[in-house]
């Protein structure tokens, strides 16, 4: 059977960009196909920027941004968004923190008002800080401490791979650090990182560009200007020898393992980076992928397998240094060494023998579907464009991604696979401590 290549479709979302006098960058992307909008504000600060002794602070601060602002009491933000028929959230990443709403389009001005108000100044009070420290501790208990495989591998692998505090520390934070955070710390953090010049606002969906521009100016125009802080260099040298650790998870019933290799700089070397994004899918996307076929179906040495770029699975919104990760769950008594050896073997085979007929094209077609599906939601579009603007000054790249993924060649994927050597790998093993 010869490979018939599916034509990779593209989106043509229009993009309007401008910068306010106070340095706030704005991206508008209209689409009138449904009466809804997505609004995203992204600040260029994340886990990597939090101070030593204050692990988890970037995330704790994200919670504080919802606790009232210049003209809004505690709880008002939630009520005004939901009372307009919308939903909201925020999230903290290695390199950015985002705040977002998706709403019926008649609430555009309200959403802009709410975001501008907290950009001018959140209400940082002792009472709110203590309350949110408690809430964050419960969040950590739900997601990490009270469940098996909590934090695996996004919290447990970075300290194996990296040596510096920004790259290696626990982004959820220790209870001690969280409890000793002060209102003064929060005020400093806000002054330093939550500057208009350090933020991007993106609005997508059912908007009129001229009207939206006017409303953005009205609400954000008088946010006091503060420049973006200098972003430190978080670079670390690549590994020259394999690193491997293991820990016992008292709640986990079965073993698991994750391995990661450093990849080219996603921003300054996008062309060098993209083949790794494709490689991860060639290896792990579905029953027809290399490693699923080999490890799950044939060898039965693992029961599930995933592969992705970036510790938080964010290939197009992370900066250097980052990694390609593979993670697997094993059957009872499974042999982690054997799994890692087989992965090495398959990577070698891919690097030396290349791909089979049609293997690359079908992987790329499926990746296009995923990319298009993610941007079908107005909010997915606003968030992604905001980060692309922030990290690259290129929000329209979103329209290009399916095509660029489709242009990655077999030679590039092979070359990428050839760099994933055992001596460049960091790995972490979960030893099952569960009683069942």
């Amino acid at each position: 059977m010869t490979a018939r290549r599916s034509r990779i479709p593209a989106t043509k979302y229009p993009v309007e960009r401008f910068t306010l006098d106070n340095g706030l960058r704005v991206v508008l992307t209209p689409d009138r196909s449904a009466p809804v909008i997505g609004v995203a504000v992204v600040y260029d600060v994340g886990i990597r920027s939090e101070p030593e002794g204050r692990t988890g602070f970037a995330h704790l601060f994200e919670h504080l941004m919802f606790q009232g602002s210049e003209n809004l009491e505690k709880l008002a933000h939630f009520r005004h968004v939901q009372g307009a028929g919308g939903t909201f959230n925020g999230s903290t990443h290695l390199d950015y923190t985002d705040y977002f709403e998706t709403l019926p389009s008649n609430a555009l001005e309200r959403a802009l008002f709410l975001e501008a108000d907290r950009m001018r100044g959140p209400r940082l009070t002792e009472e709110n800080l203590r309350n949110q420290v408690d809430v964050v501790k419960e969040e950590i208990r739900v997601n990490v401490l009270n469940r098996p495989y909590g934090g695996f591998p996004w919290l447990t692998l970075p300290p194996v791979m990296f040596d510096t505090f920004p790259n290696a520390h626990d982004g959820y934070g220790s209870f001690d650090d969280l409890e000793s955070a002060t209102v003064a710390d929060a005020a400093d953090f806000f002054r330093r990182y939550y500057a208009s010049g350090n933020a991007v606002l993106a609005v997508s969906g059912d908007i009129d560009v001229a009207e939206a521009t006017e409303l953005v100016n009205r609400h954000f125009g008088d946010v006091p200007a503060r420049p973006a802080p200098e972003r430190p260099d978080f670079t670390e040298p690549d590994l020259t020898a394999e690193r491997r650790t293991a820990y016992t998870d008292a709640l986990a019933p079965l073993p698991a393992v994750a391995g990661a290799w450093r990849v080219p700089d996603p921003v300054t070397d996008f062309a060098g980076y993209l083949p790794y994004v494709v490689l991860a899918e060639v290896l792990t996307d579905g029953d027809a992928s290399r490693l699923v076929e080999r490890l799950v179906q044939r060898d039965r040495t693992v029961t599930s397998l995933g592969g992705y770029l970036g510790f938080m699975g964010d290939p197009f919104d992370v900066r250097d240094p980052t990694a390609l990760l593979l993670q697997a769950h094993l059957p009872p008594g499974g042999d982690v060494d054997k799994v890692l050896r087989t992965i090495d073997e398959e990577l070698d085979r891919l690097a030396s023998d290349g791909l089979t007929d049609g293997e690359l094209a079908r992987t790329q077609a499926r990746m296009a579907t995923h990319l298009l599906r993610d941007t079908d939601a107005v909010l997915g579009r606003a968030l992604r464009m905001a980060v692309l603007e922030q990290q690259r000054g290129e929000p329209g790249l979103l329209n290009e991604l399916p095509r660029l993924v489709g242009e990655v060649t077999e030679e590039q994927v092979r070359a990428a696979a050839a760099t994933l050597r055992p001596e460049r790998r960091a790995a972490i093993e979960v030893i099952a401590g569960g009683v069942r």
């Binding site: 196909s33 009466p35 003209n71 939901q82 998706t102 389009s105 079965l254 027809a288 107005v378």
Partner: protein, 448 residues
Amino acid sequence: MTGTTIASVGPRTLPPLGPTRKLKVPKQAERTLRNGLTVIAVRRPAVPLVELRLWVPFGRVHLARGAMLSQTMLSGTDSMTSVQIAAELQKVGGGLSAGVDPDRLMLSGAGLVTGLDRMLELLAEVLTSASYPSDEVATERDRLVDRIQVAQSQPAHLAREALLKRVYGRHPYATQTPEPGQIRAVRPAALRTLHAERVHPVGAQLVLVGDVQPEKALDAAERALGGWAGAGRTADLPAIPPLEPGPLLLVDRPGSVQSSLRIALPAVSRTDPDHAPLQLANLIFGGYFSSRWVENIREDKGYTYGPHSGIEHSVAGSVLVAAAEVATEVTGPALLETTYELGRLASLPPKPEELEQARQYALGTLQLGMSTQAGLAALTSAYAGNGLRLDFLAEYAARLAKASIDDVAQAAARYLAPARAAIVVLGDAERVTPGLAALTTVHTEPVS
């Protein structure tokens, strides 16, 4: 810096909302094929993709065999291996997955719209000639056993299992996860038999949503699936039993650093006249972030991260479930606040502004849910499986719009009263029993 002044504009006021856009149900078409399959196609051309959902009625199916059937249905056919099926789907940017619950077998997928014909052909291939090859079945059996073991180490799963047993008693909904031993006993022949008996087009609903002309999509489905035949058995589920209040069931999970609090309350189906007011009462209680429950136990007291309540609709009945993971040391106080909020809403009418806020949220999220292909597909399929069509959305919106304070207060009194609740807590019994026993009668069981 000195001499800087910030323009003083005084307090700013929240801008009003613009005019509401009316809910517009998208263009759709429907056809029931001669083999009994109903096909519904909905147009939303925002991205060049199509979403596919096939709902096959699957009530009263043997638990372990049903789970294994969904796990192995895509493992091979008379003419294709599992790898070939997956690769052929990938070629058109597509994928398929299968899942079961006590009501249905669901095949779902999405792909490039240019690949719709091919996806439908592959779907037909699986439906008409899935072969359940021994090797693949053996592999998937082990994988499923492992997955169940992992699930059984998750507090949320254990709490859910305990709640289902407590709520449904002897009804088939009571147990929804098979035991590893039952899975190990499933052989390929049993899967082939089950497929022949129950995977047939009569009563099944196929939903296609995306960049399609609805009539053309129906034609494509008819071409591909018209030959899917077989008139097997159907089975109806009995109505769910009425909820019986009683002592709090405490499931002991020693060493837990949190307690999983679950409360079941009675509810009604989507078409019941009480449904819209109940939905609004639920929102005011705990159904969204700006609810009394969240504002109390999270934003005021910091007991929990993500409490939430919602109505779960199944074919045989509906139930309202409230769930929160709370710190072990505040388990009793968290239950106290929860029953306080339920009781307060059941005995005093909500404030007009609370009701309007909940109403706007309910109406707005209908618009949001319809604004993506995947959202529309999920909604259309859930409706179709319960005998409804998308035009019910407009009717539901009208009911939400006209529910009065009295309607909502009556619904709260009827369904949310704490006296009607069945409560389950999973946690460290030694540490949480005193706090809970101060509030209600507690019956303790070991974790299963």
